[in-house]
């Protein structure tokens, strides 16, 4: 009945402009000093404020942050989805050596959905309710490949099978509302995979899903990455999800990356007080139940008038008076070049503070033990 080819290596990459001259050490995606600003009636929103990161082929980068931290805007900019009248984008987004920021809309369309694909948070609003799932998949295939409808349809069925939808040759003729939430997200993933992307951007792919379905989707993404060798950028607010998926993690706050390191280091030896706050404010399945959680005081800042100096200083229990003036740069932490943090505290003080926090003490006790005084409030 259905013959599913494993993997999708049956097809030449579309386009033909890809030079194989990119050296092995060059990452697949390199973002340099990316800035995205939206002028509004209330002022300029500094949604992304000078961020840099890299993703290598076959690796997974997790971008963690709260709503309004700029994590989604930075990824949508990669695909040119923030291009509009008035939006100001500067910096470089190098994908296989080509700067996506400088490309024309037509050139970018060649890449979007082809070399780089994206899946969104809400699978119901990302699928068109009026068209059959198969039709939407066929459209995705034919947008980049000059093939007949019959070939594209066969590919659509193959893709649905690949993402684990049972009975794909029947399901292909169903409408999105006939799919459950998890199946819709699978269909979205199938659509993203239609043209064998080298980079998949997953923006909160499991936030709208139940925990058992979330586990299925994460396992699916990992399997597909192993089989197809693509790089993944996963954007989420859920530290559990990045712990499972990511090789490297970037923590964003108020439009900037405040800490980046390998997943192991972020969880074992975090260096930024915001990362500490995130880690200490989530209840866990094995933590002490009697203790109150340690919330981060206040709420995320406005991106129109971000706080002066270190953007986190109004909420930081360890901030010193001069942290409101000096703007910290993302710098390697002592002893490890791959671990970067943007914090004005002394490296040694930071480590001692984290040791106290880790032992279950609150921020005030930790400050007393380490001898940090004052707070900016």
């Amino acid at each position: 009945m259905r013959s599913l080819t494993r993997g999708c290596a049956t097809r030449e990459p579309a386009g033909g402009w890809i030079e194989d001259t990119v050296s092995a050490s060059e990452p697949l995606l390199r973002v340099e000093e990316l800035r995205v600003e939206f002028p509004t009636e209330d002022g300029v929103v500094h949604a992304v404020d000078g961020i840099s990161y890299e993703v290598a082929s076959g690796r997974t980068l997790g971008i963690v942050g709260e709503s309004g931290s700029g994590k989604t805007v930075s990824s949508m900019t990669t695909l040119g989805l923030t291009r509009s009248e008035g939006a100001r984008v500067s910096g470089r987004i190098l994908f296989e050596g080509r700067d996506l920021v400088a490309l024309s809309d037509a050139e970018l369309r060649e890449i979007r959905g082809n070399e780089i694909a994206m899946i969104f948070q809400d699978p119901l609003s990302s699928l068109h309710p009026f068209f059959k799932v198969g039709w939407q998949l066929i459209e995705a295939v034919r947008a980049h490949q000059n093939v007949s409808k019959a070939v594209a349809r066969a590919r659509a069925i193959e893709l649905l099978g690949l993402v684990g939808i049972p009975d794909p040759d029947r399901r292909v003729d169903e409408f999105p509302h006939e799919f459950s939430g998890g199946m819709r997200q699978r269909a979205m993933i199938a659509m993203a995979l239609a043209n064998d992307p080298k980079l998949l951007i997953a923006d909160e792919p499991t936030t709208a899903l139940d925990v058992t379905v979330q586990a299925q989707i994460l396992a699916l993404l990992e399997r597909l990455q192993r089989e197809l060798g693509m790089a993944i950028v996963i954007i989420t607010h859920d530290l559990g999800v990045v712990a499972e998926m990511a090789d490297e993690i970037a923590v964003m706050y108020a439009g900037r990356i405040v800490e980046s390191a390998s997943a192991e280091l972020i969880f074992a030896g975090p260096e930024h007080p915001y990362t500490w706050g995130l880690l200490k404010s989530i209840p866990t399945l094995d933590g002490p139940r009697e203790e109150d959680l340690v919330p981060i005081p206040g709420s995320p800042p406005s991106l129109i008038n971000p706080p002066s100096g270190c953007h986190f200083h109004p909420r930081c229990p360890y901030a010193q008076p001069d942290h409101a003036r000096i703007d910290p740069k993302l710098q390697p932490v002592a002893g490890d070049a791959s671990h970067q943090a943007a914090c004005l505290l002394e490296s040694d003080v930071r480590r001692r503070l984290w040791a106290e926090l880790r032992a279950g003490r609150g921020p005030e006790e930790a400050k007393a033990a380490v001898g940090v005084t004052g707070a900016a409030q």
Binding site: E66, S67, S180, G181, G182, M183, D210, V211, T212, V213, Q214, A215, Q216, L218, A219, H237, D238, L239, G240, V241, A243, E244, A263, E264, F267, A268, G277, L278, L279, S281, I282, P283, T284, L285, D286, G287, R289, E290, D292, L293, V294, P295, I296, P297, S299, P300
Partner: protein, 345 residues
Amino acid sequence: MSSPDATPEPLLEVRDLVKHFPISRGIVIQRRIGAVRAVDGVSFDVGRGETLGIVGETGCGKSTTARLIMRLLDATGGQVRFDGQDVARLKGARLKAVRREMQMIFQDPYSSLNPRKTVGSIVAEPFAIHGLEQGSGERKRAVQALMETVGLNPEHYNRYPHEFSGGQRQRIGVARALALKPKLLIADEPVSALDVSIQAQVLNLLRDMQRRFGLTLIFIAHDLSVVRHMCDRVAVMYLGKIVEIGPNEALYDFPRHPYTGALLSAVPVADPAVAKAGRRLLSGDVPSPANPPSGCRFHTRCPKAQERCSEVEPLLEDKGTGTSVACHYPLTEEELAAMGVRSSR
């Protein structure tokens, strides 16, 4: 926490609660062609001062259960006894009197506050409905005291909801719920719409309010870590039924129902060193509550299912490990270890 285990007279007794939503077809002449069995025979007690957690996936009936207890919906069958009175049969003034004793906090702090009213009038509304704190000066003082209690600046009395952040709005919801000094507070996913750093603020506030006012709390959530943090006892629902219920420690340390085990196993662990060890994935989706599977409703997805499971419906029974389980073949300790459910035993 060590609140008294179901004391002789629980505050809330729910017995065989049933809610079926009719499915009808036809535009002019509507025919009933079936029913969504959202809640299908649920029984539990909540002791005074206790926190009961209800967990389960979307569509398992946890919110419907809450609405039935509050009598925001009328039950198809069963009883809800609150403080000795059957809520499902009360009318008029007596229903209003009981409703004063129970309040609800909703999931979405954006849609559960009227955008055209000031915070002061939102929080004062329960007073107006029940004719309390009649003088305007008195009412304002009472509202400002409440705002202070939940950590809002009382000077913001005249502001509108849009001037507050999500976490602050949820505090407004808590202030409104506490206005009448209820005995029972039902929180339906109170933090799932909030940012991670704000969630902890609201969870701590709820805990603090509970300690200060001796509230009984029903805490509904899909996040198992949050429920573990907040609750004394936990009920796990699947397709309109409770499949396992018991004290927090017992349920998290030694879950017996395969569904509870699968839920715990699916929670992503915020620690790359231990993530994913032996995870068992549940296959498929939750079946339709309009046409639930025969026998045990979980048998279509259960790794341990046998023939008997599709024929005989298991009843909630104490299996000697602290929780009551509706399962013919409950999980063993070896199976749990293999699933990577970390037990502190």
